[in-house]
């Protein structure tokens, strides 16, 4: 019987046994529901369209609504103005959260009036209303003094913004998208890597491993396990991406950056590479333990490396995606799975860097399988207490 069949049988068993388990299905549905919900719920439940709702109590000065609209423009949020004929109606609307604030200014601009709010006034509302009322009153005063309203309007124009490196909506969505991708990879590596870890310990704990290894080579068992659980991981990742991208497109709450079509396959690829790298390490370290509690101790070095890599990606790379830290981390196997897709999603990586990084990571995975396979076979039949890495290595060589 060829070895690949043996590996595939192991992988198939993992996919069928775990994929059909209630825990896996429920957790996947639950997470998918959260992803879809985070897009849909705000849109459906709260009819919060993001507009600024301000009420105006009549009688109001002429031009107040025009001034409010003009001063609201720089905030980028559309302004919706409701008028009220008496204070009771205005207060009712405030209580019902229909408006955020109500402006009550004497129609003759004889006083500054009041800004009525439910609990407190937001900065934006205060700034907009304040500027509008002050502006109107100053204009009225200057007009009395003989100043041409057109001249006043002319000097009321704020300075134009001239950004050296203007940030667009695309930049923001690209940044957000890149970060979501890295979080997905990190969480995927962790959850499925630990599935491999516990799977190895469970096989050892239930002693079934001795029966399995009477026909399956240790390295093949580890490979099949990593492959099978990896397929489940990829299925889950695909489901999350489809749910997220689908909801984003439907609800129109999030604009996909132009880098998305190339970044999504890269996220999938780097999830697989990162998962394979980390789960192999977790798998053979798990073989050193005899109980699940010990396994989490044995896995501490791997966990630490993963978290440090993630933090490098999160801070150093997003801060300066072409800086020296980002470039070095691109070619270091443990950090590459987090750093490369992040740089790619930010559009800040050369194609050759991606290719070289993939090659280095593949070599690292192969090396880990050779080393890990040996440690695994040396350790997996030892059931008396936790084993040392060196002993496992020696034991397999004897």
């Amino acid at each position: 019987m060829p070895r690949w069949r043996s590996i595939l049988l192991v992988a198939r068993r993992e996919v069928l046994e775990r994929g059909r388990s209630r825990g896996f299905i429920l957790s996947m549905l639950f997470t998918t529901a959260i992803i879809v919900g985070s897009f849909l719920v705000p849109t459906l439940l709260f009819e919060d369209d993001g507009d600024l709702d301000i009420g105006v109590l009549r009688p109001a000065p002429a031009g107040l609504e025009v001034a409010l609209t003009a001063f609201a423009a720089p905030f980028g949020t559309p302004l919706e103005i409701t008028t009220f004929d008496d204070r009771a109606a205005a207060e009712a609307a405030l209580e019902a959260d229909e408006v955020e604030a109500v402006v009550a200014v004497p129609a003759d601009l004889s006083g500054a009036g009041t800004l009525i709010v439910k609990e407190e006034a937001g900065d934006a509302v205060r700034a907009i209303v304040g500027a509008a009322v002050v502006g109107l009153r100053q204009a009225a005063l200057l007009e009395q003094a003989g100043v041409d309203p057109a001249d006043y309007a002319a000097v009321s124009t704020p300075p134009a913004v001239d950004a050296l490196d203007p940030q667009t909506e695309t930049d923001r969505s690209q940044f957000l998208f890149a970060n979501i991708g890295v979080v997905l990879i990190f969480v995927g590596i962790f959850s499925f890597g630990f599935t491999v870890l516990t799977g190895v310990v469970e096989e050892k704990q239930s002693r079934v491993v001795e029966v399995v290894l009477s026909t399956v080579r240790p390295r093949d068992l580890l490979m099949g396990k990593v492959l099978g659980i990896g397929i489940l991981g990829l299925v889950q990742l695909a489901m999350f991406v489809v749910a997220g991208v689908g909801s984003a497109l439907i609800t129109d709450r999030f604009e996909l950056p132009p880098t998305a079509p190339s970044a999504i396959p890269l996220i999938a690829l780097w999830f697989m590479l990162g998962y394979t790298l980390y789960s192999t390490a977790l798998g053979f370290l798990g073989a050193l333990a005899t109980r699940i509690e010990e396994a989490s101790n044995a896995s501490t070095p791997v966990t630490t490396v993963a978290i440090v890599s993630y933090l490098i990606g999160l801070f150093a790379v997003t801060d300066d995606p072409t800086g020296i830290v980002a470039r070095v981390a691109t070619f270091v196997p443990p950090s590459a799975p987090m750093v490369v897709p992040l740089r790619a999603a930010l559009g800040a990586i050369e194609p050759w860097e991606v290719v070289v990084s993939i090659a280095i990571t593949l070599v690292a995975i192969y090396g880990l399988f050779v080393v890990g396979g040996r440690v695994y076979s040396g350790a997996v039949l030892q059931t008396a207490g936790r084993m040392k890495l060196r002993d496992a290595w020696r034991s397999a060589g004897e």
Partner: protein, 307 residues
């Protein structure tokens, strides 16, 4: 034929196997005996490549055992264990497929063997839902379902109730009759004497006796002499201090003697003591052979047979 040839294995300062050699023939059941820690499990693990010996090799049909050969072996380890949450038939089918059977053949074999073991209606159950006895049956079936040519069972009778023992015995006999070479370890010597034609006795990593049980008994230099002389109280034996008394109760005395002992002279002495009601001269029982063999290898009368 399975040939264990000169296996040697050390775990640090502990010598697990020290040049162990023996054979197991197709169609015969070999009982593999030895005190705890003598090297039985290590030997069996060597057969399945789970332990790599420092010296020596395992051959099947004349060639060194490799993975392809092992696909035709069935193994039941001492430490029982299967996948607790996997359904019984899928589990058996999985192991049969890992032994090279196609999916369809493996399913059919799993179904057939479950019927055979009286578990036909439990095929959909998870292993952990079965009783302890039934889990043992499934474990045995996992070693059998791919129709192996060699069966290696580490302590298959331990933890079995009398019903389970009967089933196990029947299965082993039936497999041997079908031409399978069966090797199993056990501490239940009476059971081994009942089930096996051949035994291999291992002590401190060395084979101290191997061969047909009857031949070993005949080859033993010792005999048991059971004598009952009515009303003598055993006094007829007085003065014969060179004889080893194994047991003495009233008129009955059990002696350990050399095979070359002068029986006529002893019988005459017994007759002088009174009416002889019993005078039986027998080879040792397997349990006695075992105790002698493992007691001290340097003086064992069987050591010459080991190689």
């Amino acid at each position: 034929m399975l040939e264990i040839d000169d296996l040697t294995k050390r775990y640090g300062p502990v010598v697990a196997l020290d040049g162990a050699s023996f054979i197991a023939q197709p169609g015969r059941i070999v009982g593999f005996l030895g005190p705890n820690g003598a090297g039985k499990t290590t030997t069996m693990r060597c057969v399945f490549g789970l332990v790599r010996p420092e010296r020596g090799e395992v051959r099947w049909r004349g060639s060194v055992v490799d993975r392809e050969a092992r696909l035709r072996f069935g193994y039941m380890p001492e430490q029982r264990g299967l996948y607790p949450r996997m359904r019984v038939r899928e589990q058996l089918s999985y192991f049969a497929q890992q032994h090279g059977l196609s999916g369809r053949d493996a399913d059919a074999a799993a179904t057939r063997w479950l019927e055979r073991m009286g578990l036909g209606d439990r095929w959909k159950s998870k292993l952990e839902e079965l009783s302890h006895g039934n889990q043992q049956r499934v474990q045995l079936t996992a070693a059998l379902a791919h129709d192996p040519e060699l069966l290696v069972l580490d302590e298959p009778f331990s933890g079995l109730d009398p019903l389970g023992t009967t089933t196990m015995t029947a299965v082993l006999r039936e497999r041997a009759a079908a031409g399978v070479a069966v090797l199993f370890s056990s501490h239940q010597l009476d059971l081994v004497e009942d089930v096996c034609e051949d035994v291999v006795i291992i002590a401190r990593g060395r084979i101290v006796a191997a061969g047909e049980i009857d031949a070993l008994k005949r080859a033993s230099g010792r005999r048991h002499l059971d004598v009952e002389v009515a009303g003598s109280g055993g006094t007829w034996l007085d003065g014969r201090d060179h004889l080893t008394v194994l047991d003495r109760s009233g008129d009955r005395i059990r002696l350990l003697v050399d095979a070359t002992v002068d029986l006529d002279e002893l019988l005459a002495a017994a007759r002088r003591g009174g009416e002889v009601r019993r005078f039986s001269f027998e080879p040792p029982k397997l349990s006695e052979l075992f105790m002698e063999a493992v007691a001290d290898p340097t003086t064992s009368p069987f050591e010459t047979e080991a190689a």
